[in-house]
Structure formats: C-alpha cells, structure tokens
C-alpha cells in the first residue's frame, strides 16, 4: 500500500496553529507520508514546523459546525492544535495522521527514506559491539573469550552474534545454558572493573520451574566466574515472593543449594505496564496548571515515577557496592533480562567507570547495553504517555534510564561529559527518529531489515560537529572516582527539562545552560590566548 492511499487531503490553506510558547499563527498545512508540515504565512515571518508523524502519540478532533480542530499530542510531550477550515478536510487530515503515525511495517518508516546530502550510507554504523569492547580490554583476555555461538541468532534471538563468555566454557555448554535461561539469554559479561578485576554479567531468569530443575552447565558457568573469589552476588530485580511465583510459570531463580557461592539480593523494580501507567499519570499531572499545590504533590506522588527513579538508582548503587566497594563479581537479571536488568547495569557502569561518562563513552554504553543487548525498543516505545491505544508491550524503561542519568548529572554536574540536551534528544529519538538506530527489537531484526545499510546512525550523527559541541557538557572534568548517587527523596527531583519541557520555566533553564556554555567558552578563549 502506498502512503498516498492514506492521504485524501494533502494541503490545506488558512490553518491556524496553536502551540506552547508561541502566539497562534496562520499558514498552510501539508501531510506527506512521514511528515506534517506547517508553513507560516504571516507577514514578515517564514516559520516552518516539520513534525514526524511517528512523533504523534494521539490526536483528538472536534468538528463543531463547518470547521474543525485537531489537537495533536506528541511523544515528546508537546501539544499542538490545528484549526482547519472545512469539516471534510479536517476529517481527512485526522484520518491520515491516525493511520500514518502508527505504521507497523518497520521498513516503511522514515529512517529508510531519510537521505540528507551531507551523510553517506557507507559511513560507519554504531559505536560499540561486544567484539570491540573485548579488544579494548586487554585484561579480559586471560579468562574470557569471544564466542560466536549465536552467529545465526539461533541460540538467543535477542543477543548479538558475538558475546563475551568465560574462556573455559565452550560453545556446546553455552547452548545448553541458553536452553535453561528464558529467551536463551545465557549469562554474558557486560562489564569488567579494572580496579579489581571483578565483572558484571547479565542474563534472564533460569527456567527452574516448579520442579526445581537444574542445569549443570549453568551452574558450571557461574562457578568458573568466581573461581578465585569466595563469592559472587546475584542481583535479582524481583522480590523474593515474585521469584517464588515465577517458578509456577516455568521461571525461577538460582537456589542456594545449587549455586552455593552466589548470594542473591532482591531489589524489586517495576516494569512493563506499571511503569507505562506511571508515566501516563505523571504527564497528566504536569499538564494541568490549574491544580493547587496539594493536588499537584498528591498526583506526583500517586504517579510513583520518582519512586521508580529512586528504586532504580538504589538498585544500581547496590550493584556498585557489590563490585566496587566489596570487590565481588555480580550477575544481574529479573525475568527476561531485557529491561530492568539493562537499566541497572547501565547505571552501575556510569557510576563506576569514568570511560562511560564521556559523550562517546555514554553513547557506546547505550549501544552495547541497550541496542546490542536486545532491549525491544520497537515494542517498548511504540506509544508514549498520551496514546489511547490499548497498551501492549509499551514501557518507558529507557526514559526511566534517561531520568536516572539526569539525576546523576544534577548531583555530579562536572562528572559527566554530556549535556542535558543529549538526554532530551535521546528521549525524542527513541520514540520518533530520522535515524535507524532505535528501530526494531534486537540485532537480528535490524540485520534482517538491513538497518545498518539502509539507514543512518544516530550516534555517529551526534558525534559530528556542531552537534558534538552542543551535546557536550562544558563543565566536564574527568574524574576517576565512583559517583555514588544520593537516593534520599530530597535529593531526587522531577526532571523539569523533560516533563515540563514546553513551559516557560524550561526555557529559562535552557537559557542558563547557554549562559554557562558561553562563560566557559569565554574562559577558554582568554586562557588560550
């Protein structure tokens, strides 16, 4: 089916656009296969607004009398309103937006059509892979190896083709371990702590089931990881009640009797629907300025979003305590090992590892820990906070990560090499993008659709000038120490830059960042003269 089949009215004149922080303007509205374009026709201005249809989360239409109004609610939390003359045109436009904003077919999405003049499709794609990571860490080579057991994605569909595993565990053993772990996600190395040689691994839950099934190979794999040490820690992102229940549906946990030197710590984290509903409630609360303060605080509390932030940061803190402070290796998992597991592994690396805190290091971390590691972006980010569509797999776990990173940035404003603007940009891109980076659910799917050959890479684009400057933190001072976040409620704040982005308040805060940047530029100019 062609895009044009969905477009009955492509152009409407004399449309009034209302958007936050701007006076209403009159102009022409165009709908294309992927964009909504509004050109301002006011005298003396030539403003254009180009909105990816994919960015539209929900629309509401009203047609009182002969004209109509469409309210557009975007995934970046912007709310726009279009007053369209002519009821039929209004309905046509609304219909086009509704259909084209949620196309299911990935290869019809805009990144496959985005061809800017200054970019070539032959340029390098991505920043990090397990292979690259492995070659960078020489210390790993003695006890760890690269395995291509998954090169056809047959052992674990959501893993990349190459992963890092213990030297002494061969591919046949890995295949058996994969059968014992949900979705085939056998334990793989994600982080090596240079200071003490300890590692973080991640996986999915073991499939012990109600009969307490065992897997010798799985026990062996974990055993060899902590050969030289007295114990290791398993951080389970579920409560101890939840793991007992998981056994009834075929899942389970590493029991003390089978994994005697591994201590389990439970840190229950919300995910899935609960997290999506939390986001919806928070955005709803932020959208209503008529509340009084009591009602606002009550809604903020009721959304639980900040509680999720607090839990995620303290789970990551716990993991860092195990590895950095107490000097033990750790395995992290929950159920599938594609959501909370990745969240706390990523945060822990940011807290411990200075190389992850540069702009490039952070993007590489996201590449490894989210894209390569198989976070199902397409499912999780199909809709955001405004959608009326029935929720399926949506869950803003990546947004929660960005919020946690923002909290770290607030508490250690000199320690991260990237700016708040980067986090905001990523929060947009993950829902609607010109680039192919966040398409699909895992490497296998991206490979099948030739995403790396047919779309451009966001991370590479962010590292080019002038973007690179804009997304760097001008105050960055490299620091070797761990940056332990405070998780007191008083220390955690609403991420105003994101949740209140389209208010005057956020504009003032942006002005502050500009001011800081220009002060630092001035200082560099003077000191380098």
């Amino acid at each position: 089916m062609e895009f044009s089949d969905h477009i009955k009215t492509a152009n409407v004149e004399d449309v009034v656009l209302r958007q936050p922080l701007h006076p209403p303007s009159r102009g022409t509205l165009c709908i294309t296969g992927h964009h909504l374009l509004f050109s301002d026709r006011e005298e003396g201005s030539s403003r254009q607004i180009l909105l990816l249809l994919r960015n539209i989360d929900a629309i509401e239409k009203r047609t009182p009398g002969s004209s109509g109004t469409i309210t557009i609610k975007c995934k970046d939390l912007r709310v726009l309103q279009l007053d369209i003359p002519g009821m039929e045109q209004c309905l046509n436009i609304a219909h086009s937006i509704e259909t084209l904003s949620c196309l299911d077919n990935v290869s019809e999405m805009y990144p496959f059509f985005y061809r800017p003049n200054d970019l070539s499709l032959r340029e390098q794609w991505g920043l990090s892979t397990p292979e690259k990571h492995y070659t960078q860490i020489k210390e790993l080579h003695k006890k760890w190896r690269l395995s291509s057991v998954n090169k056809t994605y047959s052992v674990c569909p959501s893993y990349p083709p190459v992963v890092i595993v213990p030297n002494s565990i061969d591919d046949e053993t890995l295949k058996k371990v994969a059968k014992f772990r949900q979705g085939g996600r056998f334990p793989v190395l994600c982080y090596y702590h240079r200071k003490n040689g300890m590692v973080i691994m991640r996986s999915s839950q073991p499939l012990t089931g109600a009969n307490k099934k065992r897997c010798k190979e799985d026990e062996l794999l974990l055993q060899v990881v902590i050969e030289d040490s007295d114990k290791g820690f398993i951080i389970d992102t579920r409560s101890s009640q939840q793991v007992q229940q998981a056994r009834m549906t075929g899942g389970g946990f590493e029991s003390k009797s089978c994994y005697s030197r591994w201590k389990r710590l439970h840190k229950q984290m919300e995910r899935g629907k609960a997290l999506q509903e939390s986001l919806i409630k928070l955005v709803e609360a932020c959208g209503d300025e008529s509340h009084n303060v009591d009602r606002w605080l009550s809604k903020l509390e009721n959304s639980k979003w900040l509680s999720h932030v607090q839990t995620a940061l303290s789970a990551a803190g716990l993991l860092v305590e195990c590895v950095e402070r107490d000097g033990h290796s750790a395995l992290v998992h929950g159920y599938e090992g594609t959501d909370c597991t990745l969240l706390i592994c990523t945060l822990a690396q940011l807290i411990m590892d200075p190389t992850c805190r540069t702009l490039e290091g952070f993007l590489a971390l996201l590449d490894r820990e989210w894209l390569q590691a198989g976070h199902p972006f397409q499912q999780r980010c199909a809709h955001s906070a405004y959608s009326h569509a029935r929720l399926q797999q949506e869950s803003p776990i990546f947004l929660l990560l960005l919020d946690c990173v923002w909290q770290l940035w607030r508490q250690f404003p000199l320690a991260l090499g990237f700016s708040e603007a980067l986090l905001l940009r990523l929060a947009n891109e993950v829902y609607a993008s010109d680039y192919g980076t966040f398409l699909c659910n895992n490497d296998q799917e991206r490979c099948a659709l030739e995403v790396k050959d047919r779309t451009h890479c966001l991370f590479q684009a962010l590292l080019r000038l002038p973007e690179r400057d804009y997304y760097s933190n001008p105050l960055y001072e490299p620091n070797e120490l761990a940056i332990w976040p405070s998780v007191h409620p008083q220390s955690l704040q609403l991420w105003r830059g994101f949740f209140l982005r389209w208010t005057q308040q956020a504009r003032h805060l942006e002005a502050v960042q500009e001011e800081i940047r220009s002060m630092v530029i001035e200082w560099h100019r003077v000191t380098q003269r």
């Binding site: 200071k195 903020l300 932030v309 000097g327 404003p413 620091n479 761990a482 220390s491 000191t527």
Partner: protein
C-alpha cells in the same frame, strides 16, 4: 555563667542522624554563648559549635544502656543528637541548655557580647551602610506627591512604625492622626515602594486593619482579598514539614505525602501569588494598598515579594539588604516574638520571614540569571535573623531598637555580608541578561514550587549535590576577569616596550602565569565519594525468605586491603558544598570533619 551547671562532659557521642550507627565520640563543652563538641579521635580533631541563641528546643529522651540521648534542634534546622553516658550529666546539660537558649532579657542576647575585631568608628560606619533614605531618593522621593512626614518622630502616632515615613503631600498631620486612630496599632497607610518608571505613580502601600474597609466609603478603589493564612497556621505547617525532613529513611511516597499534608508549599504559593498580583497591578500603573490584620506579617511578606518582582535593584545584593531593612526591620516586623529571641509566648512564634526568603529562593530557581545574590546569601541571612549575633533583628520595632541602643552596642549584619560578598554572588547574574530586566513574571503553576532542601535539610550533607556548578563558574569568572586585566596590562606593556624597541624578549618573559587555579579546578572540586543507603527497602522487602537473600555483614572500610577501593576515603575538604559553608563564624562550619558519610551505606546487618 550562672546558668551553666556542668561546663564539660566527656565521652559524649554525637550520632549521625541518617545512620545512627555512625557516631563520633568526644567532649561536650558548655560556654556562655556556645555548646562545643570536640571529637576526641586522634587525627581529625573536629569541632562542632552551636550558638545557644540558635537552639530551638532541647529534648532529653529515655536513657538506654548506651547512654542518655539529648536531642538539640536549632532554628537554622540543624539537629544534633547526643548520647551522654550518665543520666545526671545529661540532666544538667539539658537544664543548662534550656536556660541558655531561652534568654529572659535583651541584654543576654549574643549581639551584646559579640565583639569581633572591628574598631568603634568602623562599627558605627557599618550601621550606616544600609540607608533607607537613600533608597527613597533612589525612587525619586520626596517629590510633588509624596513627602517625608515628621508626624511619627517620637513614635507617638504609631509605636511600631519607623520615625520617618513617606505620606501623600496632601495629607496633613491631622489627617494622618485621624487615619491612625482608625487603624490597628496606629498603622496608617504609608509608602512602601514608589515606582519611578511608572509615571502613574504606582505605589505599594501598607497599613493595618482589623476588619476591612467598607467599599462604599472608598471611591476609585478596588478590593481584592488574597487568602494567606495566619501566623498559627504557618507555624504548624512548617513544623509538619520539618517533621518530614527529619524522617530517617523515608520512601519517596512518605516524603511527598508528608510534604503535601504539611501544606507548606501551598502557603508559599499563596504568598507568591499575592506578590505577583500586587506587582502586576503596580506595573500597570495601579496603586495598591496592602494590609492584613496588623500589617507586620503578611503585609511585609507580600510587599517585599512584590518589590523583588518589580524592581531589579532588589535582586542585587545591596538591594535585598535595603528591602529587608525597609519592609521588615523598619516597618516593624516583630522579630523578637516571631523568632523567639527571648523566652516568650510560643503562640507569637511564626516563620513569616522564612516564607519571604523562600519566595525569593523559589524565584531564583525560576530565574537563575536574574539575581545578583545566591542561595547561600538567603540561607545566611536566615541564620542571622535567628542567631542574634548581629543587632539588626533584635526587638520588635524601631522604637525598641532605639531604646536598646542597638546601633551603639552591636554590629550590623549588612556590612559583614558586604565584606564577604564574594561568597554570596551568583556567577550567572548579568545585569544585562534578559532575565534581569524589569518586572519578573514568574509562573505560579503548582509544579513550580519546590522543596527547599538547601535550607531545611541544610545540614544533611549527603543529600546535596556533590559538585557545585556555582563554585566552578565563580572560579572561571574570576580567572577570566583576571586574565583580561592581565592581558590589558600586557598590551599596555607591549605598547610601551615596542616604543623602546626591545619587546620580544619581554613578551616571552611575561608568559601568562594564569593556569594554576583553573587547571587545578577538577581536583579542587573532587567528588565526595560516598555510597548511600541503597539497601533499606531491600531488607524490608525480604523478611527471612527461606532461601532468600543473605545480607552481608557490616564492613569496616578501613580494613579494605586496597586503599583505592575504600571509597569515602576521599576527604571532603575542598569540596564545593554550598550548603555547609556557613559564614556564621561560630557555626559548625568550623567542623573540618573529613567525611561524615563514609561507610554510611554498609549493608545493615539484619
């Protein structure tokens, strides 16, 4: 001295509020003005000083095997939790402190014994530093419509008003006296702020009522009732909020629910809303008369908030001092009663001035480039309003201060702050920044109101950002300025040398000696590198599961083999910790404690 029953107690433990297992052992001294805790551990001999006049309450709790707990809460929101080995000693310290912190007479207040190294002439000059007449003349007064009235020279018309008041030129003394008889405590309408920019003579006035004007009798006047609660509601609300701040390890929900039910931010919003209303009216050229029941609480709050919004001058360091002097000190905010300087009626105590300072802070959060002063100034002013170290906030009105001869016997806070202004300047402030211009138009949407951690949890160091953008910017701003000056002088030198034909050698010799400060910045702002309590909910959620989690035994970080691994060993000295840098010379700022939070996050043994 007669109130000190016990000048010294040994083996006292000072408990950490967040993790009570961490404590310091030392000696507690009681002096005439301070309690001093000196840590006895070899090496880090840290001292914690607490001014008696800052002590808000002293509570002795039931003795246990480990000692007798004594809880000292301060007006600057510091909380000290001591454990004293012998109950009798605890009793003596308790009684002594109760008496010392509740002076009966003005003469006992610290400002009358505080003698910094300032000579008499300078001390007197310091009192003239903030001059209200100069502020009125800055507004263009007196002028054709407004004149200085001598009517209250002897405080006979209103004993709570200042001696010098601006009133309408057409209002003759009999009119003023008549008006004063109709107003509570004789507080007739007098000028508070005159908008020079606005030729319609927009004016914010103040006066006291008790009841309100009958609209029929006041032509051309529109009445607006703003719902700001009374002092009792405000006192209770702050009390509730402080209880939330004190919770040991609250969940996010505990905290937000507690904050909501305290109602505190609701009250802050009410004050700011009213300030915005007044400021908008004045900016539109409408004069405003503001009053509440007495005219020294809510009226002072909203007039001064309106002034901050209206006039960029009050967003400068000097301007804020003038504003507090004008709207609060001079117009008779009852500091002695509201701040409980002397043992008195607890029902008169109320955090009215706290709310004003908080409104300014809320505005600073919205407009970070609009204020010349920083959060630290507000916190410092707050501390000194309560500390009684300076004479500015002694007494309930000007007449009382004159009788106490405050200007002759004490020191002024304003010049002290001015001398130390480097600490109070906001490096982001630019006079010509768009945020700094004209009327501030803040949003008063509920989500704009934040909890002020910097004040209410000021002493809980672990809660604050571990690196300070402000300090960083201050350093680079100073260095930029220095270098530009250096460069100018080099240019000048080069020009001179060129004339002398020998400039190239000299140029090389004059290579910049710039970078030492800036390059060391990263190190100076090293991280406070301490893990937090990440395990609280973990333990709670897994009570004795059969095959459940094993909890690590507490670890002593000192026993960690590799020194690089013992995080928290990084001393906090040199860390930018705005919240703890107290200019109170005898405050806990002296406490050189390297790192009170280290090992805080040891897995607690079940």
């Amino acid at each position: 001295m007669e109130h000190i029953r016990l000048p010294k107690v040994e083996n006292v433990r000072l408990l950490d509020r967040v993790s009570p297992r961490r404590s310091r052992v030392g000696t507690l001294y009681l002096t005439a003005t301070h309690s001093i805790f000196v840590e006895s551990e070899a090496g880090g001999r840290s001292e914690t000083w607490v001014l008696h006049s800052l002590v808000c309450s002293v509570d002795k709790q039931a003795a246990s095997a480990s000692g007798c707990p004594l809880l000292i809460r301060c007006k600057n929101f510091q909380i000290l939790h001591f454990s004293i080995p012998r109950e009798q000693d605890c009793q003596d310290v308790h009684l002594s402190l109760q008496r010392l912190s509740q002076p009966q007479r003005y003469e006992e207040l610290y400002c009358f014994s505080y003698k910094p190294n300032v000579d008499e002439e300078e001390r007197r000059r310091d009192w003239a530093f903030v001059d209200l007449k100069a502020d009125f003349s800055r507004m263009g007064l007196p002028n054709a419509q407004w004149k200085l009235s001598p009517v209250n020279q002897q405080y006979k018309v209103s004993d709570t008003y200042p001696a010098e008041l601006f009133v309408p030129d057409s209002a003759a003394p009999p009119v003023l006296v008549g008006s004063s008889k109709f107003r509570s405590r004789g507080r007739f309408p007098a000028l508070s702020y005159y908008s020079k920019e606005n030729h319609l003579n927009a004016i914010a006035n103040r006066a006291a009522g008790k009841g309100y004007e009958n609209e029929d009798n006041y032509s051309n006047i529109k009445f607006q009732f703003m719902g700001i609660e009374n002092i009792h509601v405000m006192r209770n609300s702050q009390q509730k909020m402080l209880e939330v701040c004190e919770l040991r390890s609250p969940s996010m929900s505990d905290f937000l629910e507690g904050l909501e039910s305290s109602g505190w931010l609701k009250h802050i919003k009410a004050v700011l809303d009213t300030g915005v209303f007044i400021a908008k009216a004045v900016a539109e050229g409408i004069s405003v008369l503001v009053h509440c029941s007495d005219g020294w609480d809510r009226t002072a709050q909203v007039c001064s908030v309106a002034c901050v919004l209206l006039d960029p001058y009050y967003r400068t360091l000097k301007g804020l001092m003038v504003l507090i002097e004008k709207d609060w000190v001079s117009f008779g905010h009852k500091f002695t009663q509201r701040c409980n300087h002397l043992a008195g009626d607890p029902k008169e105590v109320s955090p009215i001035v706290d709310q004003f300072l908080e409104c300014v802070w809320q505005l600073m959060e919205q407009f970070p480039c609009a204020f010349e002063y920083n959060e630290n100034l507000l916190i410092t002013v707050h501390s000194h309003i309560y500390s009684c170290q300076f004479g500015n906030f002694i007494g309930n009105n000007q007449r009382e201060r004159r009788e106490l001869r405050v200007h002759e016997k004490t020191h002024s806070l304003w010049s002290y702050l001015w001398t130390n202004r480097a600490e109070f300047i906001n490096p982001l402030y630019r006079q010509n920044h768009s945020q700094s211009q004209g009327l501030l138009r803040p949003s008063t949407a509920p989500y704009c109101f934040k909890f002020w951690r910097g004040l209410y949890n000021r002493f809980d160091r672990g809660m604050h950002p571990r690196q300070s953008v402000e300090d960083y910017l201050r350093v680079i701003r100073e260095e930029t300025q220095q270098l530009e000056e250096q460069l100018d002088s080099h240019k000048q030198k080069i020009a001179e040398l060129k004339q002398e034909q020998g400039w190239s050698d000299a140029h090389r010799a004059a290579a910049f000696d710039q970078s030492s400060t800036a390059r060391a910045l990263g190190k100076n702002l090293a991280l406070a590198n301490t893990p937090q309590d990440y395990t609280g909910s973990l333990l709670a959620s897994t009570p004795g599961a059969a095959d459940g989690p094993l909890v690590l035994a507490p670890q002593d970080p000192d026993q960690t083999a590799d020194p690089n691994l013992s995080n928290g060993s990084d001393p906090e000295s040199g860390i930018a910790d705005v919240s703890c840098r107290s200019p109170l010379s005898e405050d806990s700022a002296r406490d050189p404690d390297p790192d009170p939070d280290s090992d805080e996050a040891a897995y607690s043994a079940a």
